[in-house]
Symmetry: C2
Subunit: 232 residues, 2 copies
């Protein structure tokens, strides 16, 4: 029994995308996995490269970004425990359109694309789950387009902080449990690093947040929402 290594415990209900698989399908999946641990800074796949399967995050945090002008990155998503990534390129037979980089020591399983395609073929509920996953992400992306186009940097930063609190758990003290550099933050919000620093400072002075190094705690979620929604 290799249960602790590669098998059943690896992919299961913690990945909601696989919730519609029966035990046979789960077994097929787990029999074809390659799991690995990665350290901060490692690249799982790179924009423009061909990837041959999708990646499931068992543990840790990845940032998913596109590379823009002067190789300035634009973070378009994070992947945490239970998320899959790389599926877009695999499903549409295209080169990876983003880069996936570890920002917190991670354990990641690789699933070859033919397994995914055969699951889509044989299990329509799984296919539907995938459709719904992409639809949800598409709406998120459109919301962000709207916000980045219409909101000020301050509003966007408030919004992103709330999003981060929503995405990542809080530690014992209430700080958002992720270490992002100020530059990372600027690469999400779409602004200069210095602007992030200045506005974080304002938020802190107004008592809206607390800062301890890279860790941020939102003190006044209500006011933060008002700022983000520009009712302020």
């Amino acid at each position: 029994m290799l249960k602790d290594e590669n098998s059943n415990t690896c992919i299961s209900s913690s990945f909601s995308i696989f919730k519609s698989l029966n035990s046979d399908e789960l077994e097929l999946l787990n029999a074809n996995l390659k799991c690995n641990t990665y350290r901060k800074g490692e690249i799982i796949y790179r924009e423009g490269s061909w990837i041959t399967g999708i990646y499931c995050v068992k543990k840790g945090i990845l940032k998913i970004y596109k590379t823009g002008i002067d190789s300035k990155p634009q973070i378009v998503a994070f992947a945490i425990k239970g998320d899959i990534t790389g599926y877009r390129s695999v499903l549409s037979n295209e080169m990876a359109c983003t880069t996936a980089e570890i920002i917190e020591e991670a354990e990641i399983c690789f699933i070859p694309s033919d397994i995914i395609f055969s699951l889509i073929k044989t299990n329509s509920d799984f296919a539907l789950s995938l459709i719904q996953l992409t639809c949800r992400e598409l709406d998120q992306a459109n919301i962000f387009i709207k916000d980045i186009a219409q909101k000020t940097v301050k509003q966007r930063l408030a919004e992103i902080l709330l999003m981060l609190e929503n995405t990542f758990k809080l530690d014992e003290e209430g700080y958002i449990a992720v270490n992002l550099t100020r530059e990372d933050l600027s690469s999400i919000v779409g602004t200069a690093t210095e602007s992030v620093i200045r506005i974080l400072g304002e938020f802190k002075n107004e008592g809206l947040i607390a800062i301890k190094g890279k860790k941020i705690k939102i003190n006044d979620k209500k006011k933060m929402n008002l700022i983000s929604d520009s009712i302020f």
Copy 2:
């Protein structure tokens, strides 16, 4: 034979999303269609409402937008002949997250959602087509996030003009065959109407484009690309 009204000629190979359907499935589809013509300004569905099926565009042009701050719209897509819209909300059982408005007299067919779901269930190729469609749109959205976050208004406007030329056909004189107000343009680019006007003026003075009322013609596509890619 009602061929000219609702049946086979209506949904067919012109909708690439339906290319994987066999003749039985096409027949089922066409038997359940409701087609209508709409005039400029009409709303097909509205953000926040529940829609019970998807819409196929046989003719005409729609703008798809989200409503933002001070009800300022943010256009996130267009739908033209051969496109489907509204599928995101249907597939993920959520309220419409965008509004679809006619900007050029259109002929549109409605397909009830249960038909779509049953096709997904029985035809995995159709499901895969849908997945690939959403994946492509998702990447487009992420590209636009990157650009809107990193590019100047001028660069974005150049990019959008190129995109419009790519999306819509050209008329006999080479003008992009769509009538967008300057405000529409500003709602795509994410800027003020006045900024669009001023920069269009610059482009025109530099001979990059020609303007005839709402119609725009790109004279120097190469230079336009350079501007958009900020190699300029």
